[in-house]
Symmetry: C2
DNA sequence: ATATGTGCAAACTGTTTGCACACGA
DNA sequence: TCGTGTGCAAACAGTTTGCACATAT
């Protein structure tokens, strides 16, 4: 059904180790240090697979690129519309997942994003 | 500072009246019935403005298009990875917004999305 | 042996942008 | 009048995909 590949493993590891919500291009840069021959297309393919499995999530920051996150524990993303920074706020529990189940929905992941201006940018 | 335009008004009205989370292309189709001369570029520009004002929000369904929502009251989106349907689950309160404020963040909107399979698709 | 994954590069498509003109205040 | 908004079309950029080859089981 699904074979092992060092490329997918590397992508997964990088995301799980990172806290910076990198873009596909950034991940590509990082993975090349481990698997130099990897191509950007493969990065995208693996990101799609991992996301479908619920191993990673993705967040829209509004700059046209998708950001990826290897942390699937319940948390909110505070996305600054000005500097595009993403701040995590961890939660006890993901009640969205619980609600979904109540509706007959089979959830694999959830993303809670709050948009606005971060502390620094709102002072200006 | 910001002028009135029937184009922006029409885009806004359509979104506030709709419950279907339409794409920009779909909105364009609808708006043309009201302002036939409107262009797709203008639709995008107005969607960006409205979103920046917190009048509308947008949701990624994962098919490469952004969906727009004129309902900014607290609710969760249940997005089916198979049929791409979006089901709304309304909430009492948007605690993400409250949390954000506690962190010195100035929120303008929030999006809570749960991905998975809807009732219908998970049966197959 | 056979299904699955990869690298490469071209193709795709949603979105953005420059420009000349129109409109609102 | 003067700043803001629009229409058009071209340009852009992130992402996807076809194909031939490589790898996993």
């Amino acid at each position: 059904m699904k074979n092992y590949s060092k490329q997918r493993e590397a992508v997964s590891n990088i995301l799980k180790a990172s806290k910076s919500h990198p873009s596909a291009a950034k991940i590509y840069e990082e993975v090349k240090k481990i698997v130099p021959s990897i191509s950007l297309g493969t990065v995208y393919r693996n990101l799609a697979d991992l996301q479908k499995n619920g191993e990673i999530i993705s967040v829209s920051v509004g700059d046209g690129t998708e950001r990826y996150d290897g942390d699937t524990s319940p948390h909110i993303h505070l996305v600054c519309r000005n500097c595009l920074s993403i701040t995590d706020v961890h939660l006890e529990d993901d009640f969205g997942i619980r609600f979904a189940t109540d509706y007959g929905f089979s959830p694999d992941s959830s993303v809670y994003t709050v948009y606005g201006l971060c502390d620094k940018c709102s002072r200006k």
